[in-house]
């Protein structure tokens, strides 16, 4: 089974520089999340965090019919827990998934970053949209936008990992020609013409993109529908569970 909206990066395929960068960035955001959620309220939120992270783990085990695909629910976690607790939930889910081989342990930083940013973005976008439109389109819109952004991040990551970052450090500002800049920025072995177009529209990289992008768009649509339905149900029955409020807290 795989997740349409992002790929669980396995071990051994990403250069070390990007793995370390992923851990550093995730560590920084985790530290910020722990700081933002410190105190007694954070302790009381632990059960809800555990439940939403458990839901994320669970839906990743439920296939949608005959297709080997599953939902994610990171944006739902962002809507219920708030952005920072949802990032922590995404990290715990990825840690447990990495322990069972669903995504690499060395790629834990990058995987957590992608899913965690989905949750943070989804939470903020939902807050903004729910003030302007009804709950269902707000939830669907927030999910679709967050997932498309994370898919773009993933595709961007898969592009930049082919670039040697040391080359970017060694060049001298202002002295290089346009061709030299293109050479520095092009992924190793993939030639970009001066016009900006890539060489060969039918490269394996092109096939990779043509496989991932339509599946990602389909995944975003399915997930947006599912999250909107769950949020609509919760909004009818227990609206105090939405937007990271404590139980019983009113808007």
């Amino acid at each position: 089974m795989f997740l349409l909206t992002h790929l669980h990066i396995p071990d051994g395929v990403i250069p070390s520089f990007w793995l370390v960068a992923g851990f550093v960035l995730t560590g920084v955001i985790l530290a910020l999340a722990l700081y933002k959620t410190r105190g007694e309220e954070a302790i009381c939120s632990l059960p809800r965090l555990g439940v939403m992270a458990g839901v994320m783990l669970l839906v990743m085990s439920l296939p949608l019919g005959f297709l080997p695909v599953h939902l994610n629910m990171s944006v739902l976690a962002g809507i219920i827990l708030g952005p920072w607790l949802a990032f922590i939930a995404a990290f715990t889910v990825n840690t447990l998934l990495a322990l069972v081989g669903h995504g690499g342990i060395t790629a834990l930083g990058l995987n957590s970053l992608i899913i965690g940013l989905e949750a943070i973005l989804g939470s903020y976008i939902f807050r903004g949209l729910s003030r302007r439109v009804a709950i269902i389109p707000a939830a669907a819109g927030a999910t679709a936008i967050a997932l498309l952004v994370s898919l773009t991040l993933l595709v961007g990551l898969m592009t930049v990992i082919h670039i040697d970052p040391l080359l970017l450090v060694e060049h001298h500002h202002g002295e290089e020609t346009e061709e030299e800049i293109a050479t520095l920025l092009e992924p190793k072995g993939y030639h970009i013409h001066a016009s900006g177009s890539g060489e060969g529209g039918n490269t394996p990289w092109g096939y990779f993109l043509s496989l991932i992008l339509p599946l990602g768009l389909l995944g975003a649509a399915l997930e947006a529908t599912a999250v909107a339905l769950v949020v609509a149900f919760l909004a009818k029955v227990r609206p105090d569970f939405l937007l990271g409020r404590q139980p019983g807290e009113r808007s």
Binding site: D11, V13, G54, L96, I105
Partner: protein, 233 residues
């Protein structure tokens, strides 16, 4: 769900590797990892692979049950290897898939022989208590939710709500089903939130003991790890 099967085997197993301390098993897993990630050819992967399979066979875990768990890392490794085709840098596709599968295999070996609360207790040495508690709660919640969703899905199927061919209809109906599950779980946890507020925080909720002492069973993963480390270096 494989997490339930893995947990059951980790807790119920009585092999020498099960009785070894968590620290020695983590040491062996880390050395295995190092050997796998440093490998630059398929031949260099053979020794870590042979060690991992040998240890798993000695732990009397049926190897065939692991294959479904290894499908995902093989699939993702293949997808990412496909993305790297045509580029000069990076491992060959077979090496990429081999590394992805073997690293997953090493971690599964650790998880099959060590209950997760013990691994979380060890993680408590490097992670903040809140994160360790979050991991423990997630682990606990998953099994509670799994039992709940099992019953819910049975009712759903008995009432004719699920069909393997009707993807869109399943999705439309899955929303409220998940909503009910999330709602019941969150409500049942509300009382526990008040318990935690009274109890206070700052300490691990799960197992706290990191040091379990060394016994003769620890020689087995420690010696294997040292031999592999010498070969790698």
């Amino acid at each position: 769900m494989e997490l339930a099967m893995i947990d059951n085997y980790a807790v119920g197993g009585r092999t020498p590797l099960h009785r070894a301390s968590t620290i020695s098993k983590v040491f062996f897993t880390c050395i295995l990892f190092l050997g796998i990630l440093r490998a630059e050819s398929c031949r260099e992967l053979l020794l870590p692979f042979a060690l991992a399979v040998g240890v798993l066979l000695l732990s009397r875990f049926p190897l065939a049950r692991l294959f479904p768990l290894l499908f995902l890392p093989a699939f993702f490794g293949g997808v990412f290897a496909l993305g790297r085709l045509g580029f000069e840098a990076g491992p060959s596709p077979i090496l990429a898939v081999g590394k992805a599968v073997l690293t997953a295999f090493s971690l599964l070996l650790l998880l099959l022989t060590t209950p997760l609360p013990k691994i979380l207790a060890l993680l408590g040495a490097i992670l903040p208590p809140f994160l360790v508690n979050a991991l423990y709660f997630t682990y606990r919640s998953f099994f509670l939710l799994w039992e709940g969703v099992d019953n819910l899905l049975l009712i759903y199927k008995l009432r004719g709500g699920y069909s393997p061919q009707a993807l869109f209809t399943n999705l439309l109906r899955m929303g409220p089903v998940l909503g009910v599950l999330v709602l019941h779980s969150l409500e049942s946890m509300e009382g526990f939130s008040w318990t935690l507020a009274l109890r206070g925080g700052g300490t691990n909720l799960g197992e706290n003991r990191i040091w379990e002492g060394f016994g003769w069973e620890d020689l087995y993963p420690l010696l294997l790890g040292i031999i592999l480390l010498v070969v790698i270096l």
